[in-house]
C-alpha cells in the first residue's frame, strides 16, 4: 500500500528526486561559494575599518606581473594536458586492447594513487627528488652522475608530479570509451582491407574523441588552478594562479583581492575552455581524422 502510493507520488518525477542530493551538494558547496566570491571581489577595505564597493582590484591586475602568472598557469595546464594525453592515450589503448587478463590488476594500480591524499603524494615525491633522495642516489651509485642534481623546487619537479597526479584523469575517460567501443567495428574495418594502423586512425581514434575531450577538460581545468604541487615542489618561489590566490587568502589576509583574482583568472580559463570546446566540436563534426 505505502509503497504503491509512494511510487504514485513520485511517478514522472523519479529522475528529479534522484537528482536532489547532487543538486543540494552543488548549490551548497559550489553555487553559493561562487556567488560569495563574486561579491567579495568587488569589496575593498577603506581606512582599515569600512568596506566599500570598488573595481580597483580588477584594475590592478592588468599589469605584466599578474598576466605573467596567468600565462604561466595556462602554460602549466596546457603542457600538463598535452603530456598526459600523449602518455595516457597509448596507456589506455594498451590496457584495453593488449594486456588481456592483467587488465584489471593494471587498472587497479593506475587508480591506486587516487586513494591517497594529494598532500601525501606530493610529500612522497620529496623523498624521490631530494638532493640525496632515491633518484639522485640511484643515478650516482650507477655512476651516471657524480654530483646530485637539483630537482626539487624547479619547474621540472612541478611538471613531473603534476603529470603523475593528473595522468589517471586522462587515462580513465579514454579507457572507458575504448572499453565500450564496439570491437566488431574494428573487425569490420580489418575485413574491408584496412591494416591495423588504418583501423586505428579511421575507426578507433575518431570514436574515442569524446573520451579525449573529457580527459583534456578534466586535466586542463584542474591543473590550471592547482596550488598544492607548485607550492610544495616549486618551493613557493614562482607564483601560479593557484598559489597566488592561496597567498592572498592565507598569507597576506586579503580575501577581497584573492576573490577578485579568482574571478579574473576564471575569465581566462573560460576563454581557453571555450576555444577547446569549439575545437573538439569541429573535429567531431568532420568525423575525426581522414
Amino acid at each position: 500500500m505505502i509503497k504503491n502510493s509512494l511510487s504514485r507520488l513520485f511517478r514522472g518525477q523519479r529522475s528529479f528526486f534522484l537528482m536532489v542530493p547532487a543538486l543540494v551538494w552543488q548549490i551548497l558547496f559550489l553555487c553559493i561559494p561562487l556567488v560569495v566570491i563574486f561579491i567579495l571581489s568587488f569589496l575593498k577595505v577603506q581606512d582599515n575599518v569600512t568596506l566599500s564597493y570598488s573595481l580597483s582590484h580588477y584594475a590592478s591586475f592588468f599589469k605584466p606581473q599578474y598576466l605573467k602568472i596567468i600565462f604561466r598557469s595556462l602554460l602549466l595546464g596546457s603542457i600538463n594536458t598535452l603530456i598526459c594525453l600523449l602518455i595516457g592515450y597509448p596507456l589506455a589503448y594498451y590496457l584495453v586492447f593488449r594486456v588481456g587478463r592483467w587488465k584489471n590488476t593494471l587498472l587497479f594500480l593506475l587508480i591506486l594513487p587516487f586513494w591517497t591524499n594529494l598532500l601525501v603524494l606530493a610529500y612522497a615525491w620529496f623523498f624521490v627528488l631530494d638532493k640525496y633522495g632515491l633518484f639522485n642516489n640511484s643515478l650516482m651509485s650507477l655512476g651516471v652522475i657524480s654530483e646530485p642534481l637539483t630537482l626539487l623546487n624547479t619547474p621540472f619537479s612541478v611538471y613531473l608530479v603534476m603529470i603523475y597526479c593528473y595522468l589517471p584523469f586522462m587515462v580513465l575517460p579514454i579507457y572507458s570509451i575504448l572499453e565500450k567501443l564496439d570491437k566488431r567495428l574494428i573487425e569490420a574495418s580489418d575485413d574491408l582491407g584496412a591494416r591495423w594502423w588504418e583501423s586505428f586512425w579511421r575507426v578507433i581514434f575518431p570514436l574515442s574523441m569524446s573520451g579525449i575531450q573529457t580527459g583534456v577538460f578534466l586535466v586542463f581545468v584542474q591543473s590550471f588552478g592547482e596550488f598544492v604541487i607548485p607550492e610544495l615542489l616549486g618551493g613557493g618561489k614562482t607564483f601560479y594562479v593557484g598559489t597566488l590566490i592561496s597567498h592572498y587568502f592565507l598569507v597576506s589576509r586579503n580575501p577581497f583581492a584573492g576573490a577578485a583574482f579568482t574571478c579574473f583568472s576564471v575569465l581566462f580559463l573560460i576563454a581557453v575552455a571555450y576555444m577547446l570546446y569549439r575545437m573538439f566540436k569541429k573535429v567531431n563534426s568532420t568525423g575525426g581524422v581522414r
Partner: protein, 362 residues
C-alpha cells in the same frame, strides 16, 4: 569465381572443441546456406573463412590458393555482420567507400563505384545521411553495399536479417537472391532460421550441435529427403515413428509398435535390411485427415484430435494414435466453408501414400 574448400579443420576455444576434422566444399558462384542450431559452430566457420580466426589444424582454400595464413585485410572475402557493424562516425557514402578508401583508389573512381553501388541497393538519395538516421532495412542495405563494392570473391553473411521484422525480412531475402544472381559472387549465408535458408539457398549444409555436417544438398533434397532425424526435425516439422524392417525391396514394410505394419516406398537403402531398427519421417502436410475413412491410400491410422492450431492459411491438428504418440497434420484452409469440420476429441483417420515417407537410419 573460385570455390571454397575447408580441409580437416579443427578449431577449439579454450578446452571446448567447436569443429573437429571438418570438411566442406562450397561451390563457386552459388548461394550457399549454412544452417544449424545456435552453438553448432557455423559462425566459427564463417569467421575462419573471413580470417578473424585461425584454425588449430587444417587448411582453407579459395580456389587453388591456400588462404589459411593470409591476413584478413588481404583476403578477397567480405563480411556482412549480424548487427551490420556500420561506422557510426561516417555517413552512408563514407561507410560504403571505406574499403576502397583504404585501398588508396583514386577519389573519382571511388565516387563512381560507390554511387553505382548505392543505386543498386536503392540508397543513392541517402548518401549524406548519418547511419543513425537510417531504418533497420536501410542499414542492412548499407552493410551489403559496403561489402559488395569491394568486389569480393566470396561474400559472407552472418545472420544478416536477424534484426529485421518479418515482412522486411521476406523482402530482403528476395533482394539478396536477385543481387546474388546479378553479381554471380559466391554467397555464404549463415543462419539458424530454416525458412531463410530454404528461401535463399541454391545449396545448403545442415550442421548439428556437435559441429558436424549432417547433410549437404539443394533445399528441395534436404526438405524432401532428409538423411537423418536431426535434419528432418530441424528443417521444417515432421512426424518421426520408430519401427523394425519387416520386408525390404521395392516396397519396404515397417513394423511398428501397436500401429501395425506401414508401407514405405523410398530410394534403395542398403542398410534397411530385414530386422533393422529404423525411423520413418512423415511431413505433416503429406497426411490427409478426415472423419471418414477414405479410399486409395496405402496407409491409414485412426486417432483422436487433441489439439487444433489455426494458422490462417493452414490448420495444424495434433492427433493421438493408438500407440500413444502424437501425429501432426497440416491441412490447407482452401475453402471458406469446408464440407467437414473437425473438432477436439473427434475420431479421425490419417491417410498417406507410401511414397511420401522417408526412411531414416537414426
Amino acid at each position: 569465381m573460385p570455390n571454397i574448400k575447408l580441409e580437416n579443420i579443427t578449431k577449439s576455444y579454450k578446452d571446448e572443441v567447436i569443429v573437429h576434422n571438418f570438411n566442406l566444399t562450397i561451390p563457386s558462384g552459388k548461394f550457399f546456406a549454412l544452417l544449424g542450431p545456435s552453438g553448432s559452430g557455423k559462425t566459427t566457420l564463417l569467421r575462419l573463412i573471413a580470417g578473424f580466426e585461425k584454425p588449430d589444424k587444417g587448411d582453407i582454400y579459395l580456389g587453388d590458393k591456400r588462404i589459411t595464413d593470409e591476413p584478413i585485410n588481404e583476403r578477397r572475402v567480405n563480411t556482412v555482420f549480424q548487427h551490420y557493424a556500420l561506422f557510426p562516425h561516417l555517413n552512408v557514402f563514407d561507410n560504403v567507400a571505406y574499403g576502397l578508401t583504404v585501398k588508396k583508389i583514386p577519389k573519382d573512381a571511388i565516387e563512381k563505384k560507390v554511387m553505382k553501388m548505392l543505386k543498386v541497393v536503392g540508397l543513392e538519395k541517402h548518401r549524406n545521411k548519418s547511419i543513425s538516421q537510417l531504418s533497420g532495412g536501410q542499414q542492412q542495405r548499407v552493410a551489403l553495399a559496403r561489402a559488395i563494392v569491394n568486389e569480393p570473391q566470396v561474400l559472407l553473411l552472418d545472420e544478416p536479417l536477424a534484426a529485421l521484422d518479418l515482412k522486411l525480412r521476406e523482402r530482403m531475402l528476395i533482394e539478396l537472391i536477385d543481387l546474388q544472381d546479378q553479381l554471380g559472387t559466391t554467397f555464404v549465408y549463415v543462419t539458424h532460421d530454416q525458412f531463410e535458408a530454404l528461401t535463399v539457398a541454391d545449396y545448403m549444409a545442415i550442421m548439428n550441435t556437435d559441429g558436424e555436417i549432417e547433410q549437404v544438398g539443394t533445399p528441395k533434397e534436404i526438405y524432401e529427403f532428409p538423411v537423418s532425424s536431426f535434419v528432418a526435425e530441424f528443417v521444417g516439422t515432421t512426424n518421426i515413428m520408430k519401427g523394425t524392417i519387416e520386408k525390404s525391396g521395392d516396397t519396404y514394410v515397417l513394423k511398428t509398435e501397436k500401429l501395425g505394419s506401414l508401407e514405405i516406398v523410398t530410394p534403395d537403402k542398403k542398410w534397411a535390411v530385414k530386422g533393422a531398427h529404423v525411423l520413418m519421417s512423415l511431413r505433416p502436410e503429406k497426411i490427409e485427415i478426415s472423419k471418414k475413412k477414405l479410399d486409395g491410400f496405402s496407409n491409414v491410422l485412426k486417432g483422436t484430435v487433441e489439439a487444433i492450431v489455426y494458422y490462417g492459411r493452414s490448420t495444424q491438428y495434433s492427433v493421438r494414435v493408438k500407440n500413444g504418440s502424437l501425429v501432426h497434420v497440416f491441412e490447407q484452409n482452401d475453402e471458406h466453408f469446408p464440407k467437414e469440420t473437425i473438432d477436439y476429441d473427434d475420431t479421425v483417420y490419417l491417410h498417406w501414400q507410401k511414397n511420401n515417407v522417408v526412411l531414416l537410419k537414426k
